[in-house]
């Protein structure tokens, strides 16, 4: 007994890896998985639409881990191809949306009172209609399909990030070092590039990455409703909406595994985004 206590007292508290390194490793790993899925999915595209009617309606087995559908397509291959499409849509939409956020946030912060008012009102307008309804409208206006959903997601997700960027720039403008630079006669462009850009960049990148999960979930939802990607394209939304006709026949695997895979992707993006955010922000880096 006494020996055990002594041992406990002498053991170093915990042999822990530093938070920063742990975070870095998990972020890199998560990013690697995402890139691997995107590339694999793109290469598996032709495989995903290959039908084999001798293999239809199979429950999950070692040969087909996710089972097969009513046309004998392997659900694992279809799912990975679908995820790859989702990542592509998410990538384009999130990049465009965060650029919109950057531009509008900057204009709101530096463009004077009127510009600020107009942009704030625009944000209120955007937040005033439920996302899904707005996505249906935009996708409908653009004739549905890949670009309908991508542009729809890109146009609806910039609001909160542009608020963050506006606040960051306002804070930066009031800070001491910008005031000093201004007094020293540094030009406005130079202040913007040398002082403001580095100040806003971390928030911008984190916002960009954290936009992915939303973009991907909304893409899947809008495709599921029939306003997104077309039925020939492999997409999680298509897979799930098609599965609805087969659920009452007991083919649960058509819905369960693709959905789980989608959740996995969304959480990976979340890990990468919040990991980078914590590393960027020194006050929470060791939490």
């Amino acid at each position: 007994m006494a020996e055990a206590v002594a041992n406990i007292l002498h053991v170093p508290k915990r042999n822990r890896v530093s938070n920063r390194r742990f975070m870095l490793v998990s972020v890199v790993l998560a990013a690697a998985v995402l890139i691997a899925i995107a590339i694999c999915g793109a290469m598996l595209m032709p495989e995903a639409i290959k039908t084999d009617f001798t293999q239809k309606n199979l429950a999950p087995s070692p040969a087909h881990i996710f089972g097969t559908d009513w046309m004998g397509r392997d659900m694992l291959v279809r799912t990975i191809a679908g995820l790859s499409t989702s990542i592509l849509v998410g990538l384009i939409a999130a990049c465009v949306s965060s650029l919109i956020a950057l531009i509008l946030g900057t204009i709101a912060a530096l463009g004077g009172r009127l510009a600020d008012r107009i942009i704030t009102w625009l944000i209120d307008l955007l937040m005033g209609v439920p996302h899904i309804v707005l996505l249906i409208l935009i996708s409908f206006a653009l004739g549905k399909g890949f670009w309908g959903v991508t542009i729809g997601v890109a146009l609806t997700h910039w609001a909160s990030l542009s608020r963050v960027i506006r606040a960051e720039i306002l804070q930066c403008r009031e800070s001491g070092f910008v005031a000093v630079a201004r007094r020293l006669g540094v030009s406005r462009i130079k202040i913007a590039v040398h002082h403001m850009l580095p100040y806003v960049l971390p928030q911008f990148i984190v916002g960009l990455i954290l936009m992915f999960p939303h973009a991907i979930l909304h893409e899947a939802a809008i495709t599921f409703l029939g306003f997104g990607l077309s039925p020939e394209q492999p997409a999680i939304g298509i897979i799930l909406s098609e599965s609805m006709s087969y659920l009452s026949a007991g083919m649960w695997w058509l819905a369960v595994f693709p959905g789980l895979a989608l959740i996995g992707i969304v959480m990976l993006f979340d890990i990468v985004g919040s990991g980078i955010r914590r590393m960027v922000d020194p006050s929470s880096a060791q939490e």
Partner: protein, 338 residues
Amino acid sequence: MGVSYSLEGYDLSRIIFWNIGRFLLLMVAVSVVVFTLVSVSPVDPVAANVGQAALVGMSDEKRAALDAYWGRNVPLPERYLSWGSALLQGDMGTSLRFNAPVADVIANRALNSLLLMSVAWLVSGVLGFALGVLAGTHRDTFLDRAVKSYCFVLAASPTFWVALLLLIVFSVWLGWFPIGFSQPIGKSAASVTLGDALYHLALPAITLSLVGVANVALHTREKTIDVMNSPYVRFARTRGLTERQIVLRHGLRNLALPAITIQFAQIAEIFGGSVLVEQVFSYPGLGQAAVVAGIGGDVALLAGIALVSAALVFGGNALANILYGVIDPRIRKGQTHG
């Protein structure tokens, strides 16, 4: 208890007028945006509704008549003006898909949707609040971790997938709930009992509630941790109050406000979720009508539902602002100066 705050300086009528003005401006803007969006669509309403096969074998006169019926030849601003002025008189147009006035279709379905959304709103609010307080007061215990991971997983799950999962488990496997529709198939609307309606409402409402919990719970948890570390709670502890008494007497009052605000702001999310859930359960509400209208190119109905959803979201936010002012004296004071 027993302290009454005076309502002096809290000019309710001014706030209401201000909100009505904002509401009208918002509605005009939303109607312009919505109408432009639905009108520029290349989706051909005639083709979408009669089907490609019928279109091929159709005579030119028939085609022209259908084009006129769906208003394909009238220019956009003209259509907006006639639609907008009719709207001001309370006429939202005719839903060509349902062959009935839009206002009737919406009123019909709004009842189903509002029932679904208000149940989900209440249940997810109360449940999320309770989970958040429990997790916050039991920080870093198993309970806290369970609540936190539940919320994170749920925030990452597509609503319609959760709905599908519940459908598989409870309707297909266990057979406890019907597969869809808001009333039994083959029964006339008059003979549907309240029990039937609730029975068909249950699974969609449970889905929406489960998904809606995450946001409130996580926010309330953060707030609870703040409150439990505050000086007045420390003082209450030194006075010898039990944790339970502290939470009940000092915690809940301070935690309720942010939770209420978040829950009101959540209405847009719940509406979005209801669109997906209604689609999965074939529940005849506004969301499902919006999808039908969008697929079928029913411009008037789609625009009408978009307007109603915007009004609903605005109403929620305005109510939250007013409630906040009524409940919290500090904010009330700030509002008259700002």
